[in-house]
């Protein structure tokens, strides 16, 4: 292990390390802690200039209650869910099939198609913006959840295919050959041999795509307009103009908007990290 395990160092080193650790963490998360603190303060504290002192009263329930009951926030949160979940399912379905084709079969253009998916995944969003917006309008899907979902599925398929193909490549190939010798149809090999082995990859991608899509802002602004279809990342700006300069409410709102992916991360940490490292760093 590198650096040298702290257990092998002197007692003084160990104590210093243990003491520095929480301090470093607080420093690292300082901006976030500040917002969390804002979100439980009463409005009066801001009027009196008590920004950083102890809250004069605990108003957490009142502030978060306002977010949930006196704004469009619940609506935006629901929209985010309805955008994110179908995207995750769609992207994973498409890419596990594509990954299977690219990972198992040898045919002309295999590597070319694979590289197309990778390259497309790195492209700047702006080069897609005008045509995709135009296409969505022509399909009659501007400012609808469906319009966003279709685009997200298509775009995420690039990244997911990269991941799936590399994962399938690493599976033991003799397993598939054995199934072929037995006369199992190719589509059955996919469903009954390969898919069950892909469970870790499916979980990793699901968590990762959930976070990516939940946090998307650019496409939400380009393809949607109002509370009927906008996800929470875009809705938060409307929320903030509703509560202009009411920092306690804006802080509570942002924490609510940020929470679902955070919860997802803490619940599925192992899968999340496996996905992030593209499975390349083992």
């Amino acid at each position: 292990m590198f650096p040298t395990p702290i257990a092998k160092r002197s007692r003084r080193w160990q104590l210093t390390y243990q003491a520095v650790l929480p301090f470093a963490l607080i420093l690292w998360l300082l901006p976030l802690i500040a917002v969390a603190m804002f979100s439980i303060k009463p409005a009066a504290d801001f009027a009196n200039g008590n920004y950083w002192g102890w809250p004069s009263s605990f108003e957490g329930f009142a502030n978060y209650g306002k977010v949930f009951f006196e704004s469009n926030m619940p609506r935006y949160l629901m929209n985010s869910v309805f955008i994110t979940v179908p995207t995750v399912l769609g992207a994973i379905a498409l890419s596990s099939m594509a990954g299977f084709a690219l990972g198992i079969y040898r045919f002309k253009g295999n590597l070319l198609i694979f590289f197309m998916f990778i390259a497309g995944n790195f492209v700047p969003f702006q080069i897609l913006m005008v045509p995709v917006r135009d296409l969505t309008i022509n399909l009659g899907m501007y400012d609808t959840i469906g319009g966003l979902v279709l685009f997200h599925i298509a775009f995420q398929t690039g990244f997911c295919t990269l991941f799936m193909r590399n994962f399938i490549r690493a599976l033991p190939f003799p397993l598939i050959e054995a199934a072929r010798v037995e006369g199992v149809a190719e589509w059955r090999i996919f469903f009954y041999v390969v898919l069950p082995l892909m469970k870790p990859a499916l979980a990793a991608l699901a968590v990762l795509i959930f976070t990516f899509i939940w946090n998307d802002y650019f496409w939400a602004v380009v393809l949607t307009q109002g509370p009927s279809a906008q996800p929470v990342t875009a809705g938060i700006t409307e929320f903030n103009s509703q509560f202009r300069a009411a920092y306690h409410l804006m802080s509570a709102g942002s924490i609510v908007a940020a929470l679902p992916p955070v919860a997802m991360f803490f619940l599925m940490q192992k899968h999340f990290i496996a996905g992030l490292t593209l499975g390349a760093v083992k």
Partner: protein, 310 residues
Amino acid sequence: MSSTTTPATRSWYKRNEIAITPWLFLLPAMLFFAVYVIIPIGQSVSISFHEWDGLGEKTYVGTANYERLLGIGEQKMDRKFETSFWNNLKWLLLYMLAVPAGLFIALFLNQTVRGIRLYKSLFFFPFVISQVVVGLVFSWFYLPREGLLNAILALFGSGPVNILGDPTMATYGIIAAGLWPQTAYCMILYLTGLNAVDPEQIEAARLDGAKGRKMLWYIILPQLKPATFIAFVVTIIGALRSFDLISVMTNGGPFGSTRVLSFYMFEESLSEFGFRMGYGSAIAVILFLIMLGFIAYFLYSMWRDERGVH
């Protein structure tokens, strides 16, 4: 029953099963990807040679959009484009700090003490939050009156600074906000990488008397190469994609000093002053060409690895 009525088609499919199946499996993904990603790139290039408000007819204007952007001929280079381009360069260079910073934190956290797993996840935390919230959090952190930054500076006796209101500092303020989640990302890449470092090599090097910085440079870093590669890829892409933070924190201001190409493109194409899709597309194409250089390099290294395996 059915197998006896359609023997011809069945056997044809059976005979070509291995050749046809991959295409059937690829079809849906390729269709989606072509319609929403590949074809739009071509369309954008074509729109960039037109003048278009997004609704009416397109008027072909040749390379006029590019000439205006780059200042070819008698006109001067578009000042907003120039600012955006230099800001993009600042983003690209300063964003790279995330890689060594991530490595530093990873080395700091790569220990086995009580509760270290929780520490690691909490350090990673900023990456999971949406950039919109990161932007809000930092713009409140920077507030001249209410912000925590100035409260801390006051403790040291420094005067209040209005980072996002000062054209010379605003871009750096936003980049600092962006470095926060990006460093967390690089940190996690290195933490997983450090896990896979071969302990025998470390022991052998230790016996040879290597330690500290020398050990890191000659023994550890070479083994972390895959992690470093991915860290650079995601950081470069992240720097060139920067949009959310700028939009949330300054909306391009003050006096347009924080624009980058991706933001300027959006502004030109969908601003309240009218939709100039042709001009916007020209900006997008230039951004795309910059990115294409990096993409080509990434693909080349991946292709090299692919050939190495087989």
